[in-house]
Amino acid sequence: MSITVSFTLNGEPVSAEVDNHTLLVEMIRDQLGRTGTHIGCDTSQCGACVIHVDGRSVKSCTMLAVQAEGADVGTIEGVALNGKLHPMQEAFREYHGLQCGFCTPGMIMSALDLVQQNPDPSEQEIRQWLVGNLCRCTGYQNIVRAVRAGAQAMRS
């Protein structure tokens, strides 16, 4: 049975016809065409699909689209401002916090949630926070460096 789901995506109102069992990530990618949010494992483990819902990071493969009705949803496409990379994105570029890049959108969305709660996270706090984000290239060293640098840039 299809139902209309409406929410705010990166500041703009959007809506689409979905089934009750459509996942939020499917609606975002397939119906709304924002493919920056990735599906890695589809079993809630890898974090490639992390987005923000009402200001909190969530795994969009483990949420139904209908659950996002009326919510404020943020994806990687909404992070850069006026064509300029966000300081966290810039830090991932600067510190080479990516290899194949598949996990990067989820890493950045997760890191932004960390920094809004803890503006100056230690290396250990970053590693603990990112347990739900897997990098198949195992590029964690530079990801952690990038998050530290991104957090610092966001403070200044």
């Binding site: 049975m1 069992h21 969530v58 997760s110 347990v131």
Partner: protein
């Protein structure tokens, strides 16, 4: 996922009616277990009753010497609550160790307890801290709540509304997490309460249970060394690819010692 009807009632009464009218309806709390289970087609509810719009089920309240946590309160709120951190730091610590950040942002205490996963963390908190589970019809003591693997004292369509934690004199939780899932291979909550010492174990058996041998030893001497030489019977413990019953039995004592040491600081 199989098809289902989705409901988001605004009140407990409305939720109860939907559950009563549909035999195969299931409650959706945070969905951190329910949705993956449905994606694997291991569950086929006719209806999902999403409790997220019922505001009264969410929030943390201090009432004298107890903390009441609404069933739909996410783990991140408990972990980050200044009230919980100051009154029952062991509970805030435990909530902060559940899963990963995104699971803690969606997963709820009511959902975790209703599911009673053998490796979930919250059952150890509820049992160790002697909490009371408040449902829409009654109050259930923690000692009477956990029955077996994924089985609790909850009746059909009974909805957890809140969990009330009395403030312990001191308490701490120690956990040996599975490095991939962060579920407890073994987790132990040790608490000195007004009614005595409690030691609750999760991850080791079919559901959370109290380790009376540990409680007896700590009642005589509340120190990690009081558990030296104590062995735990592996007989009824879980055996899976993550750990043997013997290894879990060993971990029960090690985690108990760590929790006692942390509670003693």
């Amino acid at each position: 996922m199989y098809e289902f009807q989705y409901h988001r009632p605004a009140s407990i009464d409305e939720a109860k009616k939907i559950l009563a009218d549909n035999d195969e309806a299931i409650i959706l709390a945070g969905g951190m277990t329910m949705l993956p289970t449905m994606k694997l087609r291991l569950a086929r509810p006719s209806d999902l009753v999403d409790l997220s719009a019922i505001d009264s089920l969410r929030g943390i309240r201090k009432d004298g010497k107890t903390i009441e946590i609404g069933a739909m309160t996410p783990h991140a709120d408990v972990a980050g609550s200044s009230v919980v951190q100051s009154e029952i730091p062991a509970l805030a610590d435990l909530a902060g160790m559940i899963g990963d950040a995104q699971v803690r942002n969606r997963g709820t205490i009511g959902g975790s307890l209703s599911n009673s996963d053998p490796a979930a963390d919250y059952p150890a908190a509820v049992l160790g801290l002697n909490a009371v589970i408040k449902t829409d019809t009654r109050e259930i003591a923690a000692d009477d709540f956990f029955k077996d693997l994924f089985e609790t004292a909850l009746g059909p369509n009974e909805i957890i509304q809140a969990v009330r934690f009395p403030k312990p004199k001191r308490a701490a939780y120690a956990k040996f997490p599975n490095p991939a899932s962060r579920y407890a291979v073994v987790g132990v909550m040790i608490a000195e309460t007004t009614d005595g010492i409690r030691a609750a174990v999760t991850g080791a058996g079919p559901c959370a249970f109290r380790a009376t041998e540990i409680e007896a030893a700590l009642a005589k001497d509340f120190s990690a060394t009081a558990l030296d030489g104590l062995t735990f019977d592996a007989g009824d413990l879980n055996d899976d690819l993550h750990a043997s019953p013997e290894y879990r039995a060993h971990l029960v004592i090690v985690m108990a010692k760590r929790a006692v040491a942390a509670a003693s600081v």
